[in-house]
């Protein structure tokens, strides 16, 4: 965890989100369908990142619990787009893990005839990069 | 990093109508929104007061770009001034283009009294465009230019 401040800036940059626009209404969290499973909730992601408190987020499983359903993005009245921030944190976590990418070769074993294509695409987005 | 001193700083004349655009420029000031100091504003009662001669005069005397700002169409304090200005400037600027003068040196923008931020961003963009075009050579009086450079 070299420099949390730097990482925090990086997250803001790659997500393109300006966390300062948040007015703390909590509508994102109110809209979150996976609230129960998440240790940290969308509004907390916004607040933590704004204040550079990244360590907890990086350690939490919450980043992978986010469904990327974008309900929070849709509902946010201030156009803060929390899901994009969560995505950026997730990316940071993955990048720090090193080269443990999911390779396309590994897919056939796991594939299920019934599995929707979108799930595969989502998996790539979440776990590789 | 050493910034070169000799970088080209264009002279920009902005004609602003008193009721909307000048107030918009004031609001940009009140909001501390930065735009280059090359832009000098001349206050006119209405965009329809801007005579094409003034624009030519500015170019003659060494302006590198001229921008005219007025109230948004429909919002003119004098009800119809900017509609006339719109036609005049469309014709003038197309005519200058016809003579081969770079059209990036002329511009019309509608800026309301509430659009301080837009005023600043318009000016930033215009200055950037004119800077890219470089010094005005095609429609300037060389006698004035020589005098300036002789300084």
């Amino acid at each position: 965890m070299a420099n949390l401040n730097l990482t925090s800036e990086n997250i803001k940059r790659i997500s393109g989100v300006d966390a300062r626009k948040c007015m703390r209404c909590g509508k994102c969290t109110a809209s979150c369908p996976n609230f129960e499973d998440m240790e940290y909730h969308p509004h907390q992601f916004v607040y933590f990142i704004e204040n550079g408190k990244l360590d907890k987020l990086l350690e939490s499983k919450s980043v992978f619990k986010c469904l990327s359903c974008f309900a929070c993005v849709e509902r946010c009245p201030r156009q803060v787009e929390p899901a994009k921030l969560i995505e950026a944190v997730r990316l940071t976590v993955i990048r720090q893990q090193g080269a443990n990418h999911l390779l396309p070769d590994e897919i056939p074993a796991a594939i299920d005839e019934e599995m929707p294509q979108q799930a595969l695409v989502a998996a790539f987005r979440k776990f590789t990069k | 990093m050493q910034v070169e001193n000799k970088e080209f700083k264009p002279t920009i004349v902005a004609f602003c109508c008193n009721w909307c655009s000048y107030a918009g420029a004031d609001l940009a000031g009140t909001g501390r929104m930065q735009y280059p100091a090359n832009v000098k504003i001349i206050r006119v009662p209405c965009s329809c007061r801007v005579n094409p001669t003034f624009i030519l005069r500015a170019f003659q005397r060494g302006a590198d770009g001229v921008i005219m700002c007025g109230c948004h169409p429909g919002d003119c304090h004098y009800t119809s001034g900017n509609y006339y200005a719109r036609r005049r400037m469309t014709m003038l600027f197309d005519f200058l283009d016809y003579l081969g003068i770079e059209k990036g040196r002329t511009r019309v923008e509608w800026v309301s009294a509430a659009e301080g931020a837009r005023f600043a961003s318009v000016m930033n963009e215009f200055v950037k465009n004119v800077t890219e075009l470089g010094p005005n050579k095609r429609i300037t009086d060389l006698r004035c230019k020589m005098e300036k450079e002789g300084e």
Partner: protein
């Protein structure tokens, strides 16, 4: 007498231009006018008349006189006068060559116009005899022989050659500097040239304006002419533009203007036209408020006032440019004729 092959003329121009500026009629954007010769110039010695006359070389349309530089409340005066460099003007027709004499009377008499004088001193005039006079020409009425022009060097086209005849010391000097390009003309050449000149003089006699009678003009009957009712009718169509004046080789009026450069003032003179309604405008207004008066001024000056001040010499050389360029075809010939100067 020397000669040079027509197809070697470019070498001649180049040789002259190497040492000094060469003004020569060129086609620039579709019109023949005197221009500075340079490699690739479209020299046009075939056109009889340049739009603007050769006087522009000595008396340019615009000329800086003095400039003032201001800094705050301080003013510095900058003298714009400078000695002219040597130059050559080539292809001047007999009428234009004559016009220099008329301009000299104005600009070189006291007080001397130094701007003009220095150019006259440094300029070498190479004239060119006319080979195909046109209908608007009436130089013969002023005693000009278009087949035998004056100048420092006179040149003539005949056959394959341009003949070259130095007439003054300046002309000789120039000729000497071009020796290696010029051949010496022989008797056969001289004979051919004389024939050519005879032909030209014959054509001149067939011109519609040949024999234009100027006997009614001159210093006499000034008031009678001035008060004539004919002026009203003659001037009724005049637009008051300056086309006749600006193409005229003898018009010498100029206006002095100031141009505000922002950090100073450039004072320059530029040709003026007595046809303009602000000509000789003074604080109280203009002395010639109607177009008739201005119209009359132009012709009275050329045909009455100038001769009465200059020993009968008219301030017109019959080049016919005004005849060709007037938008409404009113001209000095029609004026001369209206007062009884019927030709032929």
């Amino acid at each position: 007498m020397f000669k040079i092959k027509k197809n070697s003329l470019n070498k001649l121009y180049a040789a002259i231009a190497e040492a000094q500026t060469l003004y020569i009629p060129c086609n620039v954007n579709g019109k023949p006018n005197f221009a500075v010769w340079g490699e690739g110039a479209d020299v046009d010695l075939a056109s009889l008349k340049t739009v603007k006359s050769a006087k522009e070389v000595f008396f340019p349309q615009c000329e800086d006189i003095v400039s003032f530089k201001t800094k705050g409340k301080e003013i510095t005066v900058i003298d714009c006068r400078k000695e002219s460099e040597d130059f050559v003007v080539f292809g001047v027709r007999a009428c234009d060559a004559k016009s220099f004499e008329i301009l000299d009377k104005v600009f070189l008499s006291d007080p001397v116009d130094t701007f003009y004088k220095t150019k006259r001193e440094h300029g070498t005039v190479i004239t060119l005899a006319c080979s195909r006079p046109e209908e608007s020409c009436f130089c013969s009425a002023f005693g000009i022989d278009c087949a035998e022009p004056s100048g420092d060097v006179a040149t003539y086209f005949s056959g394959e050659y341009l003949y070259w005849s130095p007439k003054t010391e300046k002309g000789l000097n120039l000729t000497n500097s071009l020796k290696n390009l010029l051949e010496i003309a022989n008797d056969k050449d001289n004979l051919a040239l004389e024939n050519e000149q005879k032909n030209i003089r014959e054509i001149t006699k067939k011109l519609p304006l040949y024999g234009l009678d100027l006997s009614k003009w001159g210093a006499d009957d000034l008031l009678e002419k001035f008060n004539s009712e004919k002026w009203q009718e003659l001037s009724s169509a005049c637009l008051g533009c300056g086309a006749c004046t600006f193409v005229c080789p003898t018009c010498q009026c100029y206006d002095v203007r100031d141009f505000d450069k922002g950090n100073g003032v450039q004072r320059y003179r530029c040709w003026d036209s007595c046809m303009y309604n602000d000509f000789t405008m003074m604080a109280h207004g203009t002395p010639r408020p109607t177009q008739m008066q201005r119209f009359r001024q132009r012709f009275m000056h050329k045909l009455v006032y100038f001769p009465s001040n200059n020993g009968g010499e008219f301030s017109c050389v019959g080049c016919g440019r005004c005849v060709e360029k007037c938008p409404i075809n009113m001209n000095i010939v029609k004026v001369i004729k209206a007062f009884g100067g019927e030709g032929k």
